[in-house]
Symmetry: C2
DNA sequence: GACGGAATTATACGGAGGTTTCATTCGGGC
DNA sequence: GCCCGAATGAAACCTCCGTATAATTCCGTC
């Protein structure tokens, strides 16, 4: 509860150079950021870790998986932490590739402490933003899971703007049945108005076309 | 009508090196891309130009405004063309800055023709995507402009999910008046259902909170 | 001063939404 | 065989939405 970036944000450092790991750890601790350091991507992956807010600071050149390769794999592993890359022997194509892949920043060693701190601040802000976007969405997805197949059909057509009788015609059902399903959808999704349901459909990516 | 990127996509080249301008023009014409070249940012800005689809290919080092400075100014000038930067004497911080500012790519001279073509293809795709997003939005904004102040208030509350009588209470009006305004909103916005109106509100950034 | 648009409200009516109650059918699962 | 949830639907009832008609007020323009 020390900074504006929220509770328990952790900077995960992955670098094979123990001196740099220590230096970075000290730097981040000096601004009250929790820090955990690893000597390799493999060590990071094999160590149990809470999925709290944070960001990754990766060295590009490491034995085993390079920082760039590791970055490319993260999404597939379900890890969405923002990434900051650093390198002592980089080139422009490398940095461009990293930025295209979504890196927050790409720093060349030696870098100024303040540049690293700025990058981490930006990364934590991005993570916080993603998390707040995700939080509401997760509850919606969970609620959506509880819908039956029929209810999902009705959900789709209702949020597309069709009237009950039109949906009834499409699905070859009676209007009263649509009303029942529609009521179930509203209750299960915890929507208090059609407008809210439409917004949920948007957030869930349930487009009419 | 020669490529999948739509009608009349133009590559705008801005570089003070006339040899490179000619080479790039030839390259783009070889794949049926319309091309216009300029020797400086100022020349580009002072030349009348249709606002059709396209992208910009900028040299970083130019007399007058540099490619990076020019890129930074584009949004303020209402120009949203995707930017590809190229340089013969760049460094990593420069490329990172450009990518952070939204550049599609950052190429170092000499580059392979195919790399430039790939970058342009990506840039045109990004432009086409932005345009298709913008097209519908522009019509909505125009329609929204025709709404009176009262109608906009009602629009806001309706798409927030409030009932007519609740809106009437908030605005200290009778329910029938809300119904009238609501009808006007639907007609002026050309929305055929409440769901459609809610989606428009989302697209227009008219959030309840 | 006349005209028109915006805003307001009332009455009335028809259509659409939503819930409750009751009832039937169909598949699983114990 | 029995129970349960999902799906279906009919009847009744109430609320909400939407429009048409008509009227009043205010404000700015011609």
């Amino acid at each position: 509860m020390s900074r504006r970036d929220g509770p328990a944000a952790t900077v995960f450092i992955v670098d094979d150079d123990s001196d740099l790991r220590d230096a970075l750890s000290g730097l981040f601790r000096s601004v009250d950021l929790a820090t955990t350091a690893y000597a390799s991507a493999a060590e990071f992956l094999s160590t149990p870790r809470s999925d709290g807010p944070g960001c990754l600071v990766l060295d590009v050149r490491m034995p085993g998986l390079s920082g760039l390769d590791f970055q490319a794999q993260l999404a597939g592993l379900g890890i969405h932490l923002p990434v900051i890359l650093m390198t002592g022997h980089g080139d422009i194509p490398m940095s461009v590739r990293a930025m295209k892949a979504g890196a927050v920043d790409f720093l060349t060693k030696p870098f100024r402490d303040q540049d690293m701190l700025d990058a981490v601040t930006a990364a934590l802000a991005r993570d916080a933003e993603r998390r707040s976007r995700d939080t509401g969405l997760q509850a919606m997805r969970t609620a959506y899971e509880t819908l039956t197949a029929r209810e999902r059909e009705v959900f789709l057509h209702v949020t597309a703007g069709l009237m009950n009788k039109q949906i009834a015609g499409l699905l070859d059902l009676s209007e009263i049945t649509i009303k029942i399903h529609r009521g179930h959808v509203m209750r299960k999704m915890e929507a208090r108005s059609l407008a809210e349901l439409v917004r949920m459909a948007q957030a869930l990516g349930i487009a009419p076309d």
